[in-house]
Symmetry: C2
Subunit: 229 residues, 2 copies
DNA sequence: CCGCCATATGGCACTGGGTGCAGTCCCCCA
DNA sequence: TGGGGGACTGCACCCAGTGCCATATGGCGG
């Protein structure tokens, strides 16, 4: 219902990027774009609330998709793992059109206004993560704090891997890079790998822990204890 | 040299906030502000590059101060602890003028444009953290990744505590809240994480766990056990 | 006391993003 | 064939932001 025929929208995006690439973002006016696309100026603002929006034509859809994905989660699943899954969803949007993503990256890198806009987009993703985690961590000690921090860490890991991929002109393996980065976050905030499926159903584990020790350290202890057999 | 006599600047900030608070940010034009302040319109843009900047009059100074603070670090100090120290510096800027900070918070909360601007400000702080950490973590495995993730986590912890303080109209203890939040991050990323000083040094925790249970569930159990006292 | 220069300020016109409104075109349906 | 509604256009307007020049103001050497 939403993907029927936005022919004009696509034409505007194409015209905009053509001009942005050949003479720069700030040197291109909205009038230039609509003239090249052969449409009225008013129509541009029907499809894009602002000039900046034409640079990120599919983020709005991706964001709603991702939020819906998190909302549809199994209540019993690992929250952190679920958020990582959502990150992979977002990454796919970039890797589907490598050249487009790289071009956009070059633009946002050198136009401060676009960087600010991208920031607000990334922030909305992060908020979506955080909202989901807040719901799942509710009741736990420092639930909202942990949700916010973990969301920020996941987003930062994603961005780190994504940017290095974009800098390489989309040559490397983005999936692998993001996987590695997420692994680091998962290690820091517990909930590492899936436990062995062939283990006996019940176990008693005795742990000697120093109060206040970092949680990931405790998890390491648990894991090495469980694996010791 | 920079704090000699920006009398006009202060007058503009005062006039701007008076109007913003009584009729809203978007309903106030720059002409309204300069008329109330009794100065020329051109002078406004001499002191503030944009209308949004008048809402954050001292962030630019704070950011340079903080970057200088990090640059002047002892090369042997704990990098994470040093970044936490920098965060306390930033927090102080907020707590020095509680009413001003709370008013600004109310504005940014409901004006999307201001929120976007604040985001870009926060991002620059985070980048400053990350750059410092990158320098300190250079050579380590995944140095830049760890720097980015830790910087994001620290910023998120600060924001979480700061926002809850701002929501309480500056009533609670911001320092304590930020300290607690930073403690969580320090615990997660190990290194300097100082254990709680008032806790008994050793503890024995007995956990009955179902083998194959998701690791995050186990962590929840541990934490609720540790918190139960 | 006077000219001189630097800096701070004001006025003005202009560009360009964004909006409200009214008119036009076109396609579908009765 | 005659609407009726949605998509498109043109136009006038608001306002943020900029470049340019004119005007104070205030020290300083002669």
């Amino acid at each position: 219902m939403s993907s029927t025929k936005p022919a004009m929208r696509d034409a505007l995006v194409a015209a905009a990027f053509q001009l942005f690439l050949e003479r720069g973002y700030e040197q291109t006016t909205v009038d230039d774009i609509v003239t090249l696309a052969g449409v009225g100026r008013r129509s541009f603002f029907r499809y894009f609330p602002s000039k900046e929006d034409v640079v990120f034509p599919d983020h709005e859809r991706c964001l709603t998709d991702m939020t819906a994905f998190l909302a549809a989660s199994d209540p019993g699943c690992d929250p952190l793992e679920r958020v990582c899954e959502a990150v992979r969803l977002v990454l796919r949007m970039y890797t589907e059109n490598p050249t487009f993503s790289v071009q956009r990256y070059r633009l946002t890198k050198q136009v401060p206004g676009l960087r600010a806009y991208e920031l607000s987009v990334v922030w909305r993703y992060e908020r979506s993560f955080a909202e989901y985690l807040r719901g799942r961590l509710k009741g736990l000690h420092d639930g909202t704090l942990r949700a916010d921090v973990i969301a920020a860490a996941v987003a930062a890991a994603h961005n780190n891997a994504l940017r290095s991929w974009l800098r390489s002109d989309g040559q490397g393996d983005a999936e692998e890079a993001v996987e590695h980065a997420l692994g680091y976050v998962q290690a820091a905030f517990g909930a590492a790998g899936a436990p062995a499926a062939d283990a006996p159903p019940e176990d008693v584990v005795v742990i000697v822990s120093r109060r206040g020790a970092p949680m990931w350290r405790v998890v390491q202890e648990i894991e090495s204890t469980l694996d010791r057999d």
